[in-house]
Symmetry: C2
Subunit: 276 residues, 2 copies
């Protein structure tokens, strides 16, 4: 989105901030059941953390919430173990929330209080920050609750190999990437295009590790020398695919970009390929 | 999609086949509970109808299925009343299935048998017809189960007024349309563009009649004389919006087009406007 229009004050994560892990803990629904929470429509479950965020206005500790209906689903955990090790401090140990299918900001680290309440969290990050504002909005004067609150993650994919700007030899080129469907959906197909989206080839999908983790894909194409643009797009199991371009998705806080993946590479004739 | 590439054998519904109705009947989940159906993951509920479809290969009666998890949701009905009248024969009377949020083909008319089974329906229309095939596929030789089975309806919107090709007077022009979010989601915003999607204005949303019906919107703009293209796009309450163009969505059976709505009109200078 930064290539479309500047977004002041935001770090460009680009192809980063993507990972998967195996979590172990207690189901949040079991905790809420034990606390006698009744399942009523429209309730929310708010999480309070101890980390004070200087960028919040006013300065405050981090907090956020999810709908009670999501909190009661079997996939939402209070996790104390990550990849078979005690949860490291930097990842939210001793105990953090894990909300599969939702933006990371809802998986609150170092959680210290859980509240069932009639409305969503009024914390700065939920009421003001993690929201899609219309393009003409000024984030500096936006009011709490303005815009669309981010919740479940949208269908998306990216190209991992080759990297953006890479130099690759002419000949067979294997492209690797990942894809993730929205909340509770599966990836049905991933397409790769070498001509800007005019024609597409289907990539090979690796089995899904779980319905909540990204899915790896790969495709081998014939790379001809010269500049080459690689695009990728995913389809979910209901037949939905991604928007073409970030231009139509641009918003003042730079969230929710799920446009086609794009990587530009330079294909070198075999004889001038530099030695590794 | 027909403007992108021909689709033999399909009727262009264009802006048609859009309506809403008030349904009354029994919850399918109550019927299944009464029949002693146990809630196991991966089961499907198949519906058989008596109407024989000559276009099916081989010729067979209509049938389709939905996942048991959807069948057990409170919104799925066996309906015998439509808009406070007994369900007319042409709409599936005496009893039809109504599956809100799913493609119409799952709301089976004149239902005569309901089967809980391990896999989806093998009926021609589910296994072969209502599927998104890759662009290069030949529908004539596609095998059962190929492509992506249509199920929940994707986020979409359309412009109802003015109609495509309409002549309208210069000056204030009120644009009306509808928007529908995917299965169980809400519409958060509808944008209208007069410059091909470069800039957008937010439309006014009417209250939703229910979370399953489309939502009306309107916006008054200033129409300047000459040809004018109107685009509209919707955002759902998770921050997802529609793809830009049908070109990237084209598929051999012409399904699932949820690209931006587009209507072309001719704006006449006030003095040469024909009298009604």
């Amino acid at each position: 989105m930064l290539k479309v229009h500047p977004i002041p004050g935001k770090d460009p994560w680009a192809h980063g901030a993507i990972s998967t892990a195996e979590w172990r803990g207690a189901r949040l629904s079991d905790i809420l059941d034990a606390a006698g929470v009744r399942h009523e429509d429209g309730l929310h479950v708010a999480f309070n953390a101890p980390d004070v965020a200087p960028e919040a206005s006013p300065v405050q500790a981090y907090g956020s919430s999810i709908p009670l209906s999501k909190a009661m689903s079997e996939e939402v955990l209070l996790a104390w173990q990550m990849n078979s090790e005690p949860l490291p401090r930097v990842h939210g140990g001793p105990v953090r929330v894990v909300v599969p299918g939702y933006i990371g900001a809802r998986s609150v680290k170092w959680v210290k209080r859980i509240t069932v309440q009639p409305g969503p969290s009024e914390n700065y990050f939920q009421a003001l920050d993690y929201r899609i504002l219309p393009p003409e909005s000024d984030p500096g004067t936006a009011k709490p609750g303005e815009g669309i609150s981010l919740s479940s993650v949208a269908l998306n994919c990216d190209i991992l190999v080759p990297g953006d700007g890479a130099e690759v030899p002419a000949g067979p080129l294997t492209i690797h990437g990942w894809a993730l469907a929205g909340d509770g959906r599966g990836i049905a197909r991933v397409d790769v295009s070498l001509d800007g989206g005019h024609t597409w080839c289907q990539a090979d999908l690796q089995p899904a590790a779980s319905r909540w983790s990204w899915r790896l894909w790969s495709l081998t194409v014939e790379a001809l020398s010269g500049p080459m643009t690689l695009n990728a797009r995913a389809w979910d199991d209901t037949g939905v695919t991604q928007p073409e371009s970030a231009a139509g998705l641009w918003n003042p806080r730079g969230y929710g970009n799920n446009a086609w993946a794009r990587v530009d590479v330079n294909v070198l004739p075999r004889r001038v390929m530099p030695r590794p």
